[in-house]
Symmetry: D2
Subunit: 354 residues, 4 copies
């Protein structure tokens, strides 16, 4: 079986696993006061070239929901892409953690919304008008749910809108590393220099087992976070589990190497698939995800041969009308990861070729 | 340093760590559909000799809050000991997860409340009286926050009240194994046979890194649990992390061996401390926790020598009036664990002896 | 001043006011156990020709939010028009009362969505898929936010989708009477016969001071409602205030007479305005609201003469592209009520004529 | 029937009713922007001799829950008497409106807790300790649930604790006027001069139909209140209903006259009952409530003759051990109001005398 359904199907990378083993020995203070967590926090400050407030948690949904709760009151509006993970794939976690804020889903091709569309949406909820939920935050995903990227300019334009309306700007970086190496910029450039206030810095998909960091660039925004994290059950008692993963993940550019590999495998896959008749890739492959429209017969061959991909939402608003999925087609997502083997990719392409 | 402040200061046991390493290899379905989780579920069914619905999570607070949310509507009352973990040590997680249910804290010596006191409390909130929150659930801790145990008879009496008023009965088993080996009964006897509906089955403190199971004996009560877990960010994407821990924890009675060791170390400690002049242990040591009232001078010697214990709440309602902490005394909790060394215990006793 | 900004600008009708005066005398049981409330409940059963569970509250937002909370769990999805009152004009009340359910706003011209569009939206949230909020309810407004009406056939088609997916169907009837007399059907036909499960039966705008009824046709759905109402502070202690208003409102077809008058005044207004050059009414006037696009100069004349209307949202998705508001135009809502005078309407028309 | 079960059994006073009638005529701006509301706000500023932020709502539960939500985050602790209205009689409204804050019920005789007991309770939840909910607010009732009063000195001592720990201090004044005339002080003295931050200023029980004001002395605390009120459905569209009641209530000392009358009637009742053999009044009658322990035979005579009182909670913690209710006794609450007739009181006494 070649499992490309998700980057969650792999365990930890060897480097992360070894760090877990090494960190297991001896007594450590509980609840995140351990040395490994402290080290991870310092490393993230270096990575971002900025003072940061860091909170490690075990899941991306926890990270996103806690981050958004730090930005929005219960009567707040949080603007995001209509098909973003926070809007559609977390079973309402942001609504739970914010105590009922409203996520305003914006349409947009390729998994992205524009600053202009954002402005229009904000105008619907005027500040101070009591019947309207109050604009509070914006959340963008980098990598997006369509496997695409916002350019630094696009982020900056959205950030400008955020500043203009005094909204917090959150970046869901479940695949932060994959985006970063693709853009070829620094973590600082992709975040606070572009106007991001809070990052869900994902590590699970790219080498860890269960580790994400919520990273604040302004400590004031993090004031109540320790209570929110504890209250939601996301403060691990044996904090070393998180601290050891994150510090190992960051050490010696391990995270960047992992992401580069995964991205390269995705490129190899998309390059191979694109040449095949009847195969379309409506969204450009900018990181480690390939979204492909395949003839049903091709899909069947792959499935029969044990290739696993994730059937995708065929009515996605991120598809333009001329990209509609036909009745003889399927829409599949392939995700590569830090351990994906080139020969597996080649096998998939060969199988698709038939 | 000899750290007896908590059973959270240790990492994983060797057996659990090795299982994590072994489970790391290869692709596995995400979000708890992996083989390790399936195995853990089967093993828990065997452990409890009952059909069970099992949900693995990474934290005890997550487990407790999710379990209580399955038992109580937002307008429900949940009866528990006034100083229970759910009432006092989870920053209001049960209130968050139940969307605002009310925890009714019952007083009681030794960390326990009685069936009689419970009846009185329930009477305050008559069923159908709209202004009153509605009795919905009872939560007991086994081991209690005072390191003591409910006897099977005491649990059964509380369960009788639960049945009489149609309330769900939750057992917070953060130290389930320590209680079990101390009582010398079976998991079934301490739970569903005694009338328990849902268990927070703790494994973190006794050998895992981050793993707890919410165990339901009636699948109907678990109907909405998958959504609650996902929505609260407690569904790990790489479910093998939890599944591998739990199955290793249960394999070959590892969990019971660990608990027996920890309990023996606690007994060794309390036996040694009890003989010392000026030292009192107001709550009997029934599991792996020793609560000791020490002369300040003794405490200072221990602290100076690098012994870590947890200062405890001196105004605890679980202390009887004649057990009050004097002005020259401190109240400390010592917790032993699966790796605590006998020579360390002896060292502590020797240091306390002065 | 001629105030047509809202139907909330008037007090109570004479008949309702007199009932309040009459009901004021003597002792009555509190919290809705009074005779007036009982009478109102009986009258609503007659009005709807069905067994009903009735809960009186003082506000439309309270009625809607409580009704939706009865239909959706916190992880539920509630489908409604993108610009419906529950979605946009209640500051997130449905999210608060449901403890964080997600309102899925559907686009649609004329303030209405179609059964087809609804089906597409539901498909995005498959039942049993844990990451997706779970389809739970549908809410339609009758009169819509665009002053239009769903035909009985349109309601029935939406109800079919509701039944197919086992979703509760809510009707926001803030202007129930205005819709009813316009359609010329019975209350039963516009509700349970068409497949509606719960109605927010508005009375405030059409003759009361503060009175709405939440009406359930299936008592099982109302099981927890008394606790929800109390817990949200919507159970009035002196229930006669609500009971007396509602029974007076319904007596001798007072509510229908009021609605007929208001609708007739709106028709008079729209008929007058339509003939004027440069004036457009993009949404058809089916009840007591006229939405008019006016030249700025006309609007200024009206405002200067003391005519009050409500500036409307110019980017409304209920406008088709060819109905866009021009830069020399304004978009205004005029609302007539049970006391609106024909001569005032004529005055407005004359002023608009210039 | 003589109904003394509650002060909610009466309608509006004549003065208030007439004001409602007078206010009914003509168009008024909606949602609290009407002239009557403006007038009520000004009058309350005069009553309190202080700048105030005033929010009118229709219910006491709404007022209390909204006020507490303005003082406490979801992870906050709100200290109140164990049997206070907010703790026991609002079906968890404070928990709902605060999104899950924890009400810490303090014991205390006569419906009151002491500053000392409060200090002990606060010590249990240290500021900054993440596992503990964070002390946020204190709520006292004046009149208490036992019909007693805090002296100004007692309030000041509690306020001192509030200031020391930086906690907001709320006064539940459902019977504010009854307390005020009993103490013979000014509204300022009973509130901000004594250290109160927010008042639920009740008017419903003492002459209105449905009207309470939440009064803030520091506008900063009220910053988000408009959104909270709207979002909870407590912003009435026809605001004149509330504004007209409140301004009439305050005009010409009407509210104080009403309260004086009610208190006098209670005094007349308690004076009469006290002389009867076998009758005890465990809590002193300081306002308009008489709590009496009656022989069952006496109670039967009263009930048979059509006297209505409210059976009270016999296990109340506000009773000292020597005040326990015997098996041949009942515990009843009698409440007088602004319209209670002296001859009715005398009749009750005569009936009790038997």
């Amino acid at each position: 079986m070649i499992n490309l359904a998700s980057d969650n199907v792999m365990g930890a990378s060897q480097q992360v696993l070894e760090a877990l083993i090494a960190a297991n020995h001896g007594a450590e203070a509980a609840y995140g006061s351990d040395h490994h967590t402290a080290e991870a926090e310092e490393m993230l400050a270096e990575v971002f070239e900025h003072e940061v407030k860091v909170f490690l948690v075990a899941t991306g949904t926890g990270a996103n929901a806690l981050a958004l709760a730090a930005l929005s009151p219960p009567w707040g509006a949080i603007f995001c892409h209509e098909e973003s993970h926070v809007a559609d794939d977390e079973c309402g976690a942001p609504e739970m953690f914010t105590d009922g804020a409203k996520l305003i889903g914006l349409p947009g091709l390729n998994g992205k919304f524009t600053a202009e569309r954002l402005e229009t949406a904000i105008a619907r909820y005027p500040k101070g008008v009591v019947k309207a939920v109050q604009p509070a935050a914006i959340s963008i995903s980098q990598v997006t749910e369509s496997g695409t990227l916002y350019s630094l300019e696009e982020i900056a334009r959205i950030a400008e809108v955020a500043r203009k309306h005094d909204l917090g700007l959150h970046l869901d970086g479940a695949r932060f590393a994959n985006a970063l190496v693709s853009l070829g910029c620094t973590p600082a450039e992709m975040t606070w220099k572009a106007g991001i206030d809070v990052v869900s810095f994902g590590a699970t998909k790219n080498g860890c087992l269960a580790c994400e960091a919520v990273v604040f660039f302004d400590p004031a925004r993090a004031e109540h976070f320790p209570f929110r994290r504890k209250r939601s059950g996301h403060t691990l008692s044996k904090g070393r589990l998180l601290g050891a993963q994150m510090s190992a993940y960051l050490r010696n550019n391990h995270w960047l190497d992992n992401a580069r590999h995964a991205n390269a495998m995705a490129k190899r896959l998309v390059d191979g698939l694109s040449t095949l008749p009847g195969v379309r890739t409506p969204w450009s492959t900018q990181a480690n995800e390939v979204f492909a429209v395949l003839p049903k017969s091709t899909a069947k061959s792959l499935a029969d041969a044990g290739v696993r991909a994730a059937p995708w939402y065929e009515l996605s608003v991120s598809l333009s009308p001329d990209q509609k999925i036909g009745s003889n087609e399927v829409f599949w997502r392939f995700v590569t990861n830090f351990e994906t083997k080139a020969e597996h990719i080649d096998q998939v392409i060969a199988l698709a070729k038939g």
